[in-house]
Amino acid sequence: MQKFDVVVVGSGPGGYVAAIKCAQLGLNTAIVEKEKLGGVCLNVGCIPSKAMITAAHWLDKVEHGFPEMGIEVSKPKIDFKKMVAWKQSVCDKMSGGVNQLLKGNKVTIFNGTAEFMSPTLIEVQSSKGKEQLETKYMILALGSRPIQIPGFEFDEKNIVSSTGALDLDAIPKRMVTIGGGYIGLEISSYMKKLGTDVTILEAADSLLAGVADPDCSQVVARKLKKSGVKVIHQAKAKSQKKTGSDYEVTYELNGKTETLKADKILVTVGRRPNGDQPTLKKLGIQIDERGFVKVDAQRRTNVKNIFAIGDLCGQPMLAHKASHEGVMVAEIIKGAPRAFDAKTIPAVVFTDPEIASAGMLESEAIAKGYKNLKIAKFPFGANGRAVSMMETDGFVKMIASENDVLLGVHIVGPEASNLISEAVVAIEMGARLQDLALSIHPHPTLGETMMEAAEATLGHAIHIIQKPLHTPAPQPAATK
């Protein structure tokens, strides 16, 4: 039996970060992983999907951007096996990096399945047999998995979750995507660019409903439509059956039953936390009806030496939230009086164009009691860099309180995912619109749109015409 101060179970972006921080703080730390280091994020989630999206993006540029720029190439040929192998090399590099970081920090790695015996005892089952780990603290970072719906059980060959979709042998001819959430949209977008005929079945009236700013998702919806992706709203997938080499998907629309043919079915209706692992019950921790482990603001469970982080402990299921919690919990174990104190957890969707947001939606700000909100948009079409990149779809939208405190930023457009970080810092610092407007942003960059959106929300941005045309005096910085 080996003894540790902390055993982290799960090595995704929550778990491995927690383990490294624990080790950095001088705690004797172990991490248990049953699959590859890095978890879903590095192996079958964020990273591989970004690799595929990048490949598809360049292909799209070659086909649709190059001719206008005066570059003529013959029709590009796709070696899909090579593309998938390259994607895999990206994942392996990242996972190998995690391995090196853990080892370098002297974290003991156990490759195997954790069976929970008691709040201080874990048994790891691996090819090498069983090993018992005794620990003072436990950090559960068990993650989540794709939700399966009846009639569409995953075989990960033809009926696939995101995991299978990222590891196909060949580019599908026709694909039906069930669920128009961010994962479904990201995969559908790049599949379309690679040449797949894609139809999305979405139960709600709009894409990314309740998640993204409606103006932002509309830009993506328009671009999807333009690119030929078919989106059927208020559609409910019912069943599928194999007909020859294809599948026939039956769905309900406005009370009528319809069918679609496809050779691949992608089911992306959400993810569920892995709180249903059988031996978790032996810990005595409370798990809610959706499978989330119940935690307090320190991410501590009802059993005081056990913490849960990441997808396992609640929404939003995002890697960066998990990492933040991992660092925090390590410090709490070491004795720091911390609690989850972020003002905002940003979110990014790698559609074309990208969507990114930080802070509140307009509807959320109203629900919180803010009145007379100031809201304005600044379009990428008015930004020199965006035009020269041939990426003019989209805008930066800002929502501020009556006294100009920045409440929310919603971006749809080129590099939205990279631009949002400025908004995160601004919101965390309690910035006002003038703080952004008065900070000099370098020209010519996409980042100027942040400054101009702040100016627009204050009344007048330089590079767009806003009515009324005149303001009586420069906006005073009076304390309100």
Partner: protein
């Protein structure tokens, strides 16, 4: 047992490396993690450590050889390591957590055995109160039976011969029984009170849990001490300010921000703490309570292995608090001058025999005290205090002279009370007695209280001048330094030997201006230079 050390993975995509040189030879004893070879890959030169300890038996390659990853590079004869590894397979529970650098404090509470009903009973024992302190007098209880207490809440005030301390409980719960009455003397490690753990059923581990678990849980800061996250509130504050609030246990949601648009600033949080502690406790007296909470900036070590850590506690902690407070509150300034003490030296010499007959030894300090009292009568501002709460100046019509005493435990300030009514010989005897007991740690707290002005005699050790810190709530401190011989030309042009001594007066500028201090020092030094003048001050 023989062990084959294999070449480990050397990095992403690296399959082999060239052996640059061996760092060990056959027969060497190596420890785990010790580097044994230098290997150069196409990316870097790395030192390869052994994973096991033992004696090197055989080196499998020569320098210059290219070695594939996973090849055996050397063999070791293991020394006991594997035996130790295999040893403890039967043990299934872990011993109570040890103090290995993180926050586990050895609990001074003990759990009574018959706690089957969930409401466990804890006995809170009087912890150690400082170096060499074995007992303390219970001044008063801060809780009564039936009160609910949180961990770290103060439950009693205990006075030792060095200071009055508040004793916190290490566990939360409901107070069951107080074992002593105010005025009683309590020995260290005696049971002060008993507690019933209120949240027994919630805190208690689930049935499968090992008993060690509850102990482990006390290591991390407990959930009782944090306020709700700010995500749901409208409070504006930077992330670092929010973290500061957590560390200071100030609920940021309830703080009125003074920054732009109502931002809560770092200063707002620090101010919260000041107002809380100044308001509830009155600072003061010569050994008094330094009760302002100051920010505690972090200390991060760049060389921890070459440093030793000891707790800041007892008298040292008290000194630190008092002086930090004094320096924080009082705008200090120091005036320095020298004076001819030839006559004073001669005068003291002349009375040596008399003193000996009276069974004592006279130092310069009693003369300085007498000269000081005479000068204070002329300049009452030097024997005063500022009552900050009342916004009044308190002029004192009595003369209690503190003097700084260097003791093995640190600086103490015993007080010669009503020194104006005592003779030089009486004062000498009292100084000798107080100094001895200060060194032995036998002073009563009362004997370190109530000074109206303090003298520091650092000159007996060394140094020409110092800038002392005033003993709050006094407003001045006199410094006296060592006597030095000096040759001078007299009026007839003859070389004569004189003795000189340096003095400093350090003042609270809120009450005493520079010119006043200069006049004070001149009048005082006049008396020192001509001790006969002290006759004029007699009444």
């Amino acid at each position: 047992m023989a062990f084959d050390l294999k070449l480990p993975e050397l990095g992403e995509g690296v399959t082999e490396g060239e052996l640059i040189k061996w760092l060990v030879k056959p027969g060497d004893t190596v420890k785990a993690d010790q580097s044994v070879a230098e290997i150069m890959t196409d990316k870097a030169t790395v030192e390869v450590p052994t994973t096991r300890a033992g004696v090197v038996k055989e080196l499998k390659f020569k320098a210059g050889d290219v070695i594939k990853v996973e090849s055996t590079i050397l063999t070791l004869e293991e020394t006991g390591a594997s035996a130790a590894k295999a040893a403890a397979p039967t043990a299934t529970t872990m011993a109570a957590p040890q103090t290995n650098g993180h926050a586990f404090n050895p609990p001074t509470t003990t759990v009574s055995a018959g706690a089957a009903t969930g409401g466990a009973t804890y006995e809170l024992k009087l912890p150690e109160l400082g170096e060499g302190v074995t007992e303390g007098e219970l001044i008063k209880w801060l809780v009564k039976p039936g009160d609910t207490v949180k961990p770290d809440q103060s439950v009693a005030e205990i006075m030792t011969d060095k200071a009055t301390v508040e004793v916190p409980t290490t566990k939360g719960g409901t107070v069951k029984e107080l074992k002593f009455k105010a005025g009683e003397v309590v020995k260290v490690e005696s049971v002060l009170l008993t507690l019933t753990s209120a949240g027994g059923t919630q805190n208690a581990p689930p049935p499968q849990a090992q008993p060690t678990m509850a102990a482990a849980a006390t290591g991390a800061s407990t959930s009782a001490s944090f306020y709700p996250p700010v995500m749901d509130s409208k409070v504006l504050a930077t992330p670092s300010t929010r973290r500061l609030a957590r560390e200071m246990q100030v609920d940021i949601n309830g703080v009125t921000g003074t920054g732009l648009a109502g931002r809560v600033t770092r200063e707002d949080i620090l101010k919260q703490l000041d107002s809380v502690s100044i308001g509830t406790k009155a600072p003061a007296t010569s050994t008094g309570n330094g009760s302002i909470s100051f920010p505690k900036p972090g200390y991060s070590s760049t060389n921890a292995t070459a440093e030793e850590r000891v707790p800041l506690k007892g008298i040292r902690k008290k000194i630190a608090e008092n002086l930090q407070m004094a320096k924080h509150i009082i705008p200090h300034f120091t005036l320095m001058d020298e004076v001819d003490v030839t006559e004073l030296v001669a005068f003291r010499e002349s009375m040596k025999d008399i003193a000996e007959k009276a069974g004592t030894k006279v130092t310069y300090l009693p003369f300085v005290m007498k000269a000081l009292i005479a000068t204070i009568r002329e300049f009452p501002a030097f024997n005063a205090s500022i009552d900050d709460n009342a916004q009044e100046i308190v002029y004192k019509k009595y003369f209690n002279l503190g003097f700084a005493a260097d003791t093995p435990n640190g600086l103490l300030v015993p007080v010669v009370k009503q020194a104006d009514g005592k003779t030089i010989l009486d004062i000498s005897k009292e100084i000798i007695d107080l100094s001895k007991r200060a060194r032995d740690g036998k002073l009563k707290p009362d004997e370190m209280k109530g000074a109206t002005i303090t003298i520091t005699n650092i000159g007996s050790v060394g140094g020409t001048y110092a800038t002392p810190i005033i003993n709050h709530p006094e407003v001045a401190i006199l410094g006296m330094y060592k006597i030095q011989d000096r040759l001078e030309l007299n009026a007839e042009g003859k070389v004569i030997s004189k003795k000189y001594m340096n003095f400093t007066i350090t003042c609270d500028h809120r009450l005493i201006d520079g010119a006043l201090a200069a006049r004070f020092l001149k009048a005082f030094l006049g008396r020192i230079q001509k001790p006969a003048l002290l006759m004029l001050d007699m009444h």
